[in-house]
C-alpha cells in the first residue's frame, strides 16, 4: 500500500476513467456546490452524485472514513460559531452566553454542506486517480510538465504532512515534551513540533529538486511515457457536457443574484 498518497487501488469503472474526465467532474461539483442558488445543493450532490460514484469506485468505506474525519471538526466548529454570533432568531436554549438560534444552526448546516461537497469531491478524485496517470494526462492537454509535477505532488502533501507531523510528535514526546494538558501546556508544544516540520520540509524540497534534476527533469528533449492512458470519444463528449453545466450553474447564480 502506498501510504503517501490517498490512492486506493481497485478494479473499478471509476478508476479506469480518464483522469481529466474525473478532474472536470470534480471541478463541476466544486462550481455547482459554490454557485447553485439552491440551499441544500451541497447535501443533494453529495448524496446523489458523490456517494453513488464512491460505491461504483468500490471505495465507499475508505471514502466515508476520511470524509467523516475531515468534516466533523468543520461541522462542529461552524455550528458553534454560528450559534454564538447569530443575531436575532428563535433560541433553542439559553445558557450563559450561549444561545443558539434555529436560523443560525440551519444556515450553518447549509454552508457546511457546500464545504463537505468540495472536500468529498477532491477526496474521491484523489482516491481513485493514480498520481502518475493524472500527471500524464495533464501533460497531454498541454500543461507544462513542471506545473503538472507540482500539482501531482501537492495532492500528496496532505497525507505526507500528517504522517510526518505525527512522527515528530512522537519523537518530541519521547524527549519529554508535554503535549497533553491545558491550553497553555499545549500551546508551548507547538514550536518544537512546527519548527522541525517546516525546516524539514525546506530541506526536503531542496533535495527533491536536486534528485529530479539529476534525472533529467529539466531536459529539453521531447518527453516519452512508460504507461498509456486510454481516453474515449464518449468521455471527451462527457467533459464538454460538464463544462456546459459549469457555465449554466454560474449563469443561474448570476441570474438569481440579479433577481433578488
Amino acid at each position: 500500500m502506498n501510504t503517501f498518497s490517498m490512492y486506493v487501488a481497485r478494479e473499478s469503472g471509476l478508476h479506469k476513467l480518464y483522469p481529466l474526465t474525473k478532474a472536470s467532474l470534480t471541478l463541476l461539483l466544486l462550481i455547482a456546490g459554490l454557485t447553485l442558488p439552491v440551499n441544500w445543493a451541497g447535501y443533494f450532490l453529495v448524496l446523489f452524485v458523490i456517494f453513488p460514484l464512491a460505491i461504483w469506485g468500490k471505495v465507499f468505506k475508505n471514502f466515508m472514513r476520511i470524509v467523516w474525519s475531515i468534516s466533523l471538526p468543520f461541522i462542529i466548529s461552524v455550528i458553534i460559531i454560528q450559534s454564538l454570533f447569530w443575531g436575532k432568531g428563535t433560541p433553542i436554549f439559553e445558557f450563559w452566553i450561549l444561545a443558539p438560534k434555529i436560523e443560525g444552526v440551519i444556515f450553518a448546516t447549509i454552508s457546511v454542506g457546500r464545504i463537505i461537497l468540495v472536500m468529498a469531491g477532491f477526496i474521491l478524485f484523489a482516491m481513485t486517480t493514480r498520481p502518475d496517470a493524472l500527471m500524464i494526462s495533464l501533460k497531454q492537454v498541454g500543461v507544462p510538465s513542471s506545473l503538472a509535477y507540482i500539482i501531482v505532488t501537492t495532492l500528496q502533501i496532505v497525507p505526507r504532512f500528517v504522517t510526518k507531523a505525527s512522527t515528530i510528535l512522537d519523537a518530541q514526546r519521547s524527549r519529554g515534551l508535554e503535549t497533553d494538558g491545558n491550553l497553555f501546556v499545549r500551546s508551548r508544544a507547538v514550536v518544537p513540533i512546527i519548527l522541525p516540520l517546516v525546516l524539514g520540509s525546506l530541506m526536503e524540497v531542496e533535495e527533491r529538486a536536486i534528485a529530479i534534476e539529476a534525472r533529467g527533469f529539466n531536459s529539453n528533449r521531447e518527453e516519452t511515457s512508460l504507461i498509456e492512458i486510454p481516453d474515449t470519444r464518449a468521455q471527451f463528449i462527457l467533459r464538454r457536457i460538464f463544462m456546459v453545466l459549469m457555465i449554466l450553474s454560474i449563469i443561474a447564480r448570476v441570474a438569481w443574484q440579479l433577481s433578488t
Binding site: 498520481p131 529538486a209 536536486i210 533529467g216 531536459s219
Partner: protein
C-alpha cells in the same frame, strides 16, 4: 586520460564565510573507482555536487578554478545537459523518490521518460538495471513502502538506468545492512571494470579498502591525502582529525608500538590483519 579534471577549485556557498572547498586539484581516469573520505563537514558532499554540476549551477555561490568532465567545462554548460554525463545519487533515499510514480518500475523509468527514451527501449533498460542491482522483485511495489536500504537501491538504480559516463554517489549505502552494502559495492566495482567512472563519498573504510581503486581524503575543504586505499587509509596524516579508521588499523598500530606487528604496512581489512599477525 582524465575524464574528471578539477583544477584549483575553490568554492563558497552563498551567505557563508568559509570556503567549503579550498584549492582542489583532482583528476580521475576513466573506469577508476575513487572513494572520498573525511569527517563531517569536510566537504565530501560539496565535492560530489561540484563534479555533478549542482555546484555552482544549483547552489549558486562563488566558484573559482575549472571543473571539466568528459572534456566539457562545467561553467560553460547547462545543468540539464551535464546530468546526462554525470549521474548523482545521494544519501537520503526518501527525498530521491519522485513522488509522481506509483511503482518502483515506473519510478526507475522516470528519468528515461524525461530524456525522451522511447517506450520499447525503456522497458528492457529498466529491467536490466533492476537485475543489476538486485531489485527485480520490487518492481511492482510502491517506492514508499520499501525499507531505507531498498529505497537506496532504487535511488541508485534510477540513476544507473540513465547510463551516465560518471557516477557520483554520496553515501549511497548509509541505510544498508552489511549484506546490502557488500552487494552494492560489488555492483559498483563491476561497473567500474566495465569502464564507468565512480566517485563515492563513504565512511565505511573496510569496504573501501576491498573495492575502491583509490582514496581521496578531505579535511576542512582540502585534499590532504590521495592514493591507493591501503596506503591512504592507514596514513599518519589522517590521525587525530576525526577520520573513520578501520579497527584493524587501530589494533595493528597499537601492536606495532609493542613490537607485535612486524610489517611496515598497517592493515585495513580483516584479511590483511590476519595475514600480518600470522607471521608473528
Amino acid at each position: 586520460m582524465a575524464i574528471i579534471d578539477l583544477r584549483n577549485v575553490t568554492y563558497k556557498y552563498p551567505l557563508t564565510q568559509e570556503s567549503a572547498l579550498k584549492n582542489i586539484n583532482f583528476q580521475v581516469n576513466e573506469g577508476e573507482f575513487v572513494a572520498v573520505i573525511g569527517p563531517n563537514g569536510a566537504g565530501k558532499s560539496t565535492l560530489c555536487y561540484t563534479v555533478a554540476g549542482f555546484v555552482p549551477h544549483f547552489f549558486k555561490g562563488e566558484l573559482s578554478g575549472t571543473v571539466e568532465v568528459a572534456g566539457a567545462d562545467s561553467s560553460k554548460s547547462n545543468l540539464h545537459e551535464w546530468v546526462l554525463n554525470v549521474g548523482l545519487a545521494f544519501q537520503n533515499p526518501f527525498n530521491q523518490i519522485s513522488g509522481a510514480k506509483y511503482t518502483v518500475f515506473e519510478e526507475i523509468a522516470f528519468g528515461l521518460e524525461n530524456i525522451g527514451v522511447p517506450r520499447d527501449e525503456m522497458i528492457p533498460r529498466v529491467n536490466d538495471a533492476m537485475k543489476l542491482t538486485g531489485i527485480s522483485e520490487l518492481a511492482d511495489r510502491s517506492p514508499y513502502s520499501l525499507s531505507g536500504g531498498q529505497q537506496q537501491r532504487v535511488a541508485l538504480t534510477s540513476i544507473l538506468v540513465m547510463h551516465p559516463k560518471v557516477l557520483v554517489l554520496d553515501e549511497p549505502t548509509s541505510q544498508m545492512d552489511p549484506i546490502g552494502t557488500r552487494e552494492v559495492f560489488g555492483v559498483i566495482r563491476t561497473l567500474a571494470e566495465q569502464g564507468m567512472t565512480v566517485i563515492m563519498a563513504e565512511h565505511k573504510v573496510e569496504w573501501i579498502a576491498n573495492f575502491a581503486d583509490r582514496v581521496v581524503a578531505l579535511h576542512e575543504g582540502q585534499i590532504i591525502e590521495d592514493g591507493k586505499p591501503q596506503e591512504a587509509l592507514t596514513s599518519d596524516v589522517l590521525a587525530g582529525k576525526g577520520f573513520g579508521i578501520s579497527r584493524y588499523t587501530s589494533v595493528a598500530r597499537k601492536a606495532k608500538e609493542t613490537g607485535l606487528w612486524k610489517k611496515d604496512k598497517l592493515p585495513v581489512t580483516l584479511e590483511e590483519a590476519v595475514e600480518g599477525f600470522a607471521h608473528v
